[in-house]
Amino acid sequence: SSMFVFPHKIILKTCGTTTLLLGLNRMLRIAATVAGFPFHNALSTDEIQVAATPYRVFYSRKNFLFPDRQQGPHRSWKQEVKYLDDMFEGGSAYMVGKMNGDHWYLYITSPSASTTPPRTPTDDDSSINGFNSGNSTNASSPILRTSKRIPTGIVSGPIADSNELNDETLEILMTDLDPVNAKQFYLEHASAVARDDIVARTNAALRATNNKQAAKDKISHMSDSTYSITGTEELFDVDDIASHSSNGSLTPMSEDHIDIDEALTTEGHALGTVVSDSCGLSDVYPKSAYPDARIDAYMFSPCGFSANGVVPAPAAAETTAATESTETSSETSENAKASMHYFTVHVTPEPNCSFASFETNVPGGQKGRQTADIVKQVVDIFRPGRFSVTLFEAKGKGAPAKDQYFLANDINGVPSPSGVAKPRLENIPGYRRIDRIVHDFEDYDLVFRFYERE
């Protein structure tokens, strides 16, 4: 599971039998009482509470494999919608895709034009709502009973000219993973890869040691002066390795040093990094193109994998050029300068319920890589039997032009100046596209695609 906290929004994506919606009320209260967002009072069964008034809410998920094992309101889409409808006004629920096959659900609220001035929580309010005492929310109570549903879309202060520019989310949900590829996400396999990695590094270090010794011997015949060899000695303390080689205990002394015993017993992050590198995930947004990107990965025991990536947006000029878009909004550039994008990956490799998800808000076209490139690269990591792609994009300013660009990109890819054919979402090698469904929301475009292995 993952959570991304921005100044103005929060994204929470949870796996398994987690009870995500049960945390929603607390989230709204934290936003009001701790962060200071505008709020309204809601009457629960026995007390007054405050809850921030969200600007808008999105909730989505794929159909569950085992809905009867879910908890709280998550046993059915109907219950989830009721839970959200009880909390928010003006929500709309959708099912996208085949009813008798894999499909995807979405609940979305629209920002309204309400002008009701919201109040700001005060200390007195905080003491009334019992936030600090922690007694106002009962985890076992699945539904906060409010006297009045929370109206979304009431925003005080300066209102942005449009929705967040460049707001684009790509999600790939993959099931029936190839068993060989899925093996990578078992602890046992990851440990073996880590061992192989250490052996390879050690061998490389030994080769460097031997080369250095050979060079040293050669040089000593020529002169007694000092010598210099560039290469792996900056990563490995060759003298230390040489001293250990006699007793068979080899430990590369590098910044990438992994203590395998510690990794197995206490450090899922270390093995998560190994898996992230070995499976190809680290190459989706590679260091060469995104030197300041950071991946935080974790390998679960006995299996399962999660990773979050934080990807700084490139400089404005680079973004504009790379998108090859006709849109040349200066606001887009300004926004890109300050923004940080994310991606997140979750894998459940067990054969009876194998699943992997990839989600990112790195805009398509960045660094010259189109959405179809990303989809192909991710799908190649898992080789799923079936997968869906949802592409969600704010229309923002200049909606008609962007809308046209978005849909054209989805269908055809973007033609490059060189005329070299770009990958198309329509054609993912080895897969047959089953569905393509477009939803034209008030301020968002959504394209849902579903593919099956050929």
Binding site: G157, L173, M340
Partner: protein
């Protein structure tokens, strides 16, 4: 914790949770995804909102909310504009 700077994302690991996590009983892959916006953008926060908005909320405050969800924090990548929490389950 690596040396933090405003421009460079840095990682904090919650060893207390991450060290002995056993996911033997976890199952069912598909996730739920919730996205709640409290303002149209990071630059349009109401005057009453603290600087950095939700990012000003300390991690330990989110723990209470995540308890209701049945998730625990394994690690956090902090950056200038987003904090990325890796969670259990």
């Amino acid at each position: 914790t690596l040396s933090p700077s405003l421009a460079t994302p840095h990682l904090t690991i919650n060893h207390e949770v991450a060290a002995d996590l056993d996911s033997s009983n976890a199952f069912e892959g598909p996730e739920k995804l919730l996205e709640v916006w409290f303002a149209p953008s990071a630059t349009s926060l109401a005057p009453s909102v603290k600087e950095n908005g939700l990012k000003s909320v300390p991690s330990d405050v989110w723990v209470g909310m995540l308890d209701l969800v049945n998730c625990k924090i394994l690690s956090v990548v902090h950056s200038e504009t987003v904090d990325a929490y890796l969670l259990s389950e």
